[in-house]
Structure formats: structure tokens, C-alpha cells
């Protein structure tokens, strides 16, 4: 339907006069990798954070009482970046088009199953597994998106939720031959992949022979830093995902996605098909989820249906909103924040609290411990819930908006000095 043969006389070029005036044209700077200088800086900052995370996340000496706040161990660092990827993808759908999917964990789960089957049947190398995860999750999200996008708003959310819960229930029961049911799937020494089988016990994924669990440790005084191969592979995937997300945000396609959120009527009467754009965003975000799911299996070669449970879908929503929906950095921040709380704050117990408040007189100490205790340990959900509410009410732009406001304050103070 693109009849463009009828363009009449070209636009009258009477703008020459005003063109001479120094207009605020966007700096068409060359930049790096097709990014503006600002975006390239952002990309660089994230790259530095990912590369040096083993240092940055381990600021406290092993021997100090604060060592429990260190997050620089491979397992957790892997989770930071994998959920970062999941949230970056989710944000392309939710942040740009405003369509709130409540079933994205299904794509992550499907990606995981696809990856583990690739390892069981083809090779323990992670690359085919991850590619397979992305493709299968993409196809599945195409089906789910095609159907769910027949509705918008709350009905769309409910449809995606229904699909995800259905996937969960099926993986648990009817599909047991494919999913391993309740126990899930692992790689055992009975598996015979086409190229090289697991030698003994539980098979581990590798990259051309190097296992994901391989780590190098560096001891500096009282500090211990761990550099893990799996983490760096997942980190590279995060950087790629982040880069793609910047490119999408700055592309004509990105404008179209924001147009979907703003006014679909106008899109229709401008000759565009908003649904196709939304479906594309849905599939792209499904593929990001598949990548995250594939990486999870690469790091820890097992998968179970609980990965697709609705709480997992809800978690990525909370990560994105908490960090800042529609912003580039928000989803990564949100994912890191929640995973940090889940793994670090949740481990603080009463004894540790007593140590902290030991300097207070006995009575006061008990009171303080009693006051703080509900917010830590198993109570970390309470802290998260309160934070989430505060952010939604006072900082609709999430942590990113909070950061921007603080930065703006500093700048203002500086100019006043």
C-alpha cells in the first residue's frame, strides 16, 4: 500500500532565510559505533562497570565485618548481568510502547529449556545453546504476542499472564517428557551430545573446552577478587544487549514504539500499523528474555518450571519500574538493586544486627534490633515493597530520575557558589 508515485512539486524551499539563523540543530556528531558522544559515554561507563565489577562489588576486606556486603562473587555477579539483560529486553517493550507484559518469564523459561536441550543433544558448548534459546524464545513470543496484542491495557497483561501460567503448568505436568516436570532437567553422564559428552557426573557447559565455572583469584592484602569466565561471557552478552538497546532507542523504529505509547489513532491515520511495531517490540524483548534464559543454563546447567512462575514475571516488571522504565540505564540498575537485596540484605540475621548495635546500651540495643529486624533477612521483601511504593509515588522515573534530580541539585549548587 505504499503508493509514493504521486508526490507533486517538491517542498518549497523558502526556509533558506531562517536556515542562516543559528538553530539548535542536534549535534550530528560522529561518535563511536554509530552512537552520539553522550550515548558512547554511557556505553563506556557500563563497559567499565561490567569489566571491573569483581573489584567494584568487593570493596570490603574479607576479614572485616562489612565483608557480608560484598557482592563480587561469581554466582551473584552472573545473576546481576543475566537479569540485567532480561530487564533491558523487557524495557524495550514496556518502557517504549507502554504494553505491560506479565508473562515474560515464560520466554526466559522456554529459552532455558531450549538451551539445555541443545547441550543434551548437540554440544556442551554454550554458543549453540544460547543461539537456540534466542530463536526458540523468539518464535514462542511471536505466537504469544500475536494473540495477546489483539487486546491492549489490562486485557493484554492478563493474556500474557495466562500464557505464562499455562506454560508453567504444562512444563510441570503434561510436557514432562520435554521439561522433566517438577525435577526439571540437568545434564547427566547418560546424555550423549553429538560432539563430546559429559565426562563424569553432572555435565558442565563450556566455551570451546573452558568451563563456565573456571575462575582466577587475585589476593591483594585482605581483599580477594574472583574473575569468573561465566561472568565475563554473560557480561559480554549484557554489553551487547545494552548496545542494541541504545541503537533501538535512537532509531526511527524507537520513535515509532514511543508513538505507539502516545497515540495509536494518529499512527493509523498517518499510514502506519501500530500493531506490527508493537509485535516487533514484543518479539525483540522475548528474544532478550531467551538470551537471559540461555545464559542461566550456561552458568548452571539445570532448569525447572519455577523459572516461569508468575512471580518471576512480576520481578522483571518491578526491576524495570524501580530502575526507571523507558530509560536506558534503569532496567540494569533495577535488576542489580533487586538481586543485591535478594542475596545480600536477605542474609543479615539477628546476631549480625546485635553486633551492629552493640555500642548502644543494652535496652536500646534490643529496641533497635527489634525495629530494624522486620526489614532485613526474610523481611527484605518488606523493604523492597516500601521502596517500590516510594519510587512509584515520588519518583515515577525510577532510580534514574532520582539520580538525575540529585545531579541537577549539585549543578545548581555549584552555579550558586
Amino acid at each position: 500500500m505504499t503508493d509514493q508515485s504521486h508526490s507533486t512539486a517538491p517542498l518549497s524551499v523558502q526556509q533558506a532565510a531562517t536556515r542562516n539563523a543559528p538553530l539548535a540543530r542536534p549535534r550530528a556528531g560522529r561518535g563511536v559505533l554509530g552512537l552520539t558522544r553522550r550515548d558512547a559515554t554511557l556505553m563506556l561507563v557500563v563497559t567499565v562497570l561490567v569489566v571491573f565489577a569483581p573489584f567494584i562489588l568487593n570493596p570490603f576486606p574479607e576479614t572485616s565485618a562489612l565483608a557480608q556486603f560484598n557482592a563480587g562473587y561469581p554466582d551473584l555477579m552472573q545473576r546481576f548481568v543475566i537479569f540485567g539483560i532480561f530487564a533491558i529486553g523487557f524495557n524495550i517493550l514496556f518502557g517504549l510502547t507502554g504494553y505491560l507484559s506479565f508473562g515474560h518469564a515464560a520466554f526466559l523459561g522456554v529459552g532455558s529449556y531450549a538451551a539445555i536441550w541443545s547441550m543434551k543433544l548437540i554440544t556442551l558448548n554454550v554458543i549453540p545453546g544460547i543461539l537456540f534459546a534466542i530463536i526458540v524464545a523468539g518464535l514462542f513470543s511471536l505466537v504469544v504476542g500475536f494473540i495477546s496484542l489483539r487486546r491492549s491495557g489490562i486485557y493484554f497483561s492478563i493474556l500474557t499472564l495466562a500464557f505464562a501460567q499455562m506454560s508453567y503448568a504444562l512444563a510441570y505436568s503434561v510436557l514432562t517428557p520435554i521439561t522433566g516436570g517438577e525435577t526439571g532437567l540437568q545434564i547427566k553422564n547418560t546424555d550423549t551430545p553429538l560432539f563430546g559428552g559429559p565426562e563424569s557426573g553432572i555435565g558442565r557447559a563450556n566455551l570451546f573446552g573452558a568451563e563456565m565455572g573456571n575462575s582466577t583469584e587475585l589476593e591483594l592484602g585482605n581483599w580477594l577478587f574472583t574473575f569468573n569466565l561465566g561472568y565475563y561471557i554473560a557480561g559480554a552478552a549484557l554489553l551487547l544487549a545494552f548496545y542494541l538497546s541504545i541503537r533501538i532507542f535512537r532509531s526511527p523504529f524507537g520513535i515509532m514504539l514511543r508513538a505507539v505509547k502516545s497515540n495509536q489513532q494518529r499512527m493509523n491515520y498517518t499510514g502506519l500499523m501500530p500493531k506490527r511495531y508493537t509485535l516487533s517490540a514484543f518479539v525483540i524483548s522475548g528474544m532478550f528474555a531467551g538470551l537471559a534464559g540461555g545464559l542461566m543454563v550456561a552458568m548452571d546447567t539445570q532448569v525447572g518450571p519455577e523459572r516461569m512462575f508468575w512471580t518471576a514475571s512480576g520481578e522483571v516488571v518491578i526491576m524495570t519500574i524501580l530502575g526507571g522504565a523507558g530509560t536506558l540505564l534503569g532496567p540494569v540498575l533495577g535488576a542489580g538493586f533487586i538481586k543485591y537485596m535478594e542475596n545480600i540484605i536477605s542474609k543479615i540475621n539477628k546476631d549480625i544486627l546485635h553486633q551492629w548495635f552493640a555500642f548502644l546500651p543494652d535496652g536500646m540495643e534490643d529496641v533497635m534490633v527489634a525495629v530494624v529486624y522486620p526489614f532485613i533477612g526474610k523481611g527484605w521483601h518488606l523493604t523492597l515493597g516500601i521502596m517500590f511504593m516510594l519510587v512509584v509515588i515520588f519518583l515515577p522515573g525510577g532510580l534514574v530520575e532520582g539520580g538525575q534530580r540529585i545531579a541537577a541539585k549539585f549543578r545548581r549548587n555549584k552555579t550558586q557558589d
Binding site: H6, T8, R247, S251, A259, N263, Y269, T270, G271, M273
Partner: protein, 252 residues
């Protein structure tokens, strides 16, 4: 030769006959005004033309092709653009982004997965959008968020968004309502200039008779869903039936 031809169109909303046997021919390169009291069915007629409503009976032919049954985006791609009675713009986006969207729609069609090109590299599109913004005197507002502008500016933006597509038929639903006097004059001038330079066919609904008589070559008077008369502005002014039905209550 008529580029748009409406024949025997009927539309009922429950018991209300919103359009009753409407016949209308819009000749190429003319400006055809549709006037009539509130609730006459003017907007409903435009809704039929752009595929928002499907009439109960009748035919609508644009440039030799039937419009009925086509989706709104297909009709737009055929070359019909519409300015709505209440501004339909991308309120959360900047003025420039609002302009770029129709530019991309014109160049790329209804859908294209152009996810890896940078908008700032689209210099052709940006230039086009800037030229059009300049014509409506809004170039200085290019980085403003559309929702933060006055109603008159929103209308001018919507008009610019339609014009930048270089439609063959432009439908305008009360384009100057809510505009300051000076902006109304500018809008009249703009539409005149564009018609002179580019030969654009227009159908305009307007309550402001100053606008109607400045632009229109033909006028159709609609009352209660049925065309009363169709004639030149000179004849319409003196037409007794029209005075009775409509002009009596309007500011001539």
C-alpha cells in the same frame, strides 16, 4: 475531474440518521468546504472517508479506487490525510519527532523494522520536517514536548504533520478552532500558499465563515445529515435556504 466521489452514503447511529443519502464530488485541485450547524454530520462524513466508520450504504471512491472496507492506514497511504477536530498528535513526543513520524510513514510505508539506523543520521527526513515546520512558523519549537503547547499550536503541528506527507487530499475538521486571530490569518495564508505551490485538494469543515470564504471554491451545506445545497461561495451567501438553515446563526 472529481478526485473524491461520495455517492448515496447513509449512516445511522441507533435511531439517529447521522448521514442521509450524501452525495459529494470534490474536484481535483480545489478547496471544497462543508458547512452546517452542530451535529449536522460533518465529522461523521470525514470519519467515513478515512475508514474510521463504515457507512450502512453508499460508495466512496478516491482516485478511481473504493475506500470502503480499507483500513485507516491504507487509506492514508492512498494519499488522504486528516486534521481532526480535537488535535490528534503524539503528545509525549517532541515537535520534531511528531514531524518525523509522518515523514518515515511516507518513505517507508506502513511498517519497517528500521531499528539500527540513527534518527539523527536521517538528514533528508530532518530537512523535510524542518522545512515544513518553518512554513508553519514553528521551527523554534522543534524540541518542545507537543503536549506543552497551546491548542492553536497543536492544531498547526497536526496540520504540518499532514502536509509533510504531501497528501493528494487533505481533510480539515475545523482547523482554526481555538486559534488566535493572527494564527487564523496565518493558517489561511499557509493553506493558500500550499495550494498555489503544490496543487493540493482540500475538503474543509469550518464554522468561521471568514476562513470558508477565503479558501473555498465550492461549498456544500449539510443539515441533519443531508446536503441542502452545493454551490459557489457567492451563490451560497445569498441562498435563502442556507440563510434559513444555517447562516442565520453564524457570523457572516
Amino acid at each position: 475531474m472529481a478526485i473524491l466521489s461520495v455517492k448515496g452514503v447513509n449512516k445511522r447511529f441507533g435511531g439517529l440518521q447521522a448521514l442521509g443519502d450524501v452525495n459529494l464530488d470534490v474536484a481535483e485541485n480545489t478547496c471544497h468546504a462543508i458547512i452546517g450547524p452542530n451535529g449536522a454530520g460533518k465529522s461523521t462524513l470525514l470519519n467515513v472517508l478515512v475508514g474510521k466508520l463504515i457507512p450502512d450504504s453508499g460508495s466512496v471512491v478516491f482516485d478511481g479506487q473504493s475506500v470502503l472496507g480499507r483500513k485507516p492506514h491504507e487509506i492514508n497511504q492512498m494519499g488522504i490525510s486528516r486534521v481532526f477536530q480535537t488535535p490528534e498528535i503524539f503528545a509525549d513526543l517532541t515537535v520534531m519527532e511528531n514531524m518525523l513520524i509522518p515523514c518515515f510513514a511516507k518513505r517507508d510505508g506502513a511498517f519497517r523494522l528500521h531499528a539500527f539506523e540513527a534518527v539523527r543520521r536521517e538528514s533528508d527526513m530532518i530537512e523535510r520536517a524542518e522545512a515544513m515546520l518553518d512554513e508553519v512558523n514553528m521551527l523554534d519549537k522543534r524540541e518542545m514536548t507537543a503536549s506543552s503547547m497551546s491548542r492553536g499550536d497543536k492544531r498547526r503541528l497536526e496540520m504540518a504533520m499532514c502536509l509533510v506527507q504531501e497528501p493528494r487530499l487533505l481533510l480539515l475538521d475545523e482547523p482554526t478552532a481555538g486559534m488566535a486571530r493572527a494564527d487564523t490569518e496565518n493558517t489561511i495564508e499557509l493553506l493558500k500558499t500550499i495550494r498555489r505551490d503544490r496543487g493540493l485538494t482540500m475538503a474543509i469543515i469550518e464554522h468561521d465563515m471568514n476562513v470558508v470564504f477565503s479558501l473555498a471554491e465550492r461549498i456544500t451545506v449539510l443539515a441533519q445529515g443531508t446536503p441542502l445545497v452545493e454551490d459557489t461561495p457567492e451563490n451560497i451567501k445569498g441562498h435563502p435556504k442556507v440563510r434559513e438553515a444555517y447562516l442565520g446563526e453564524a457570523q457572516v
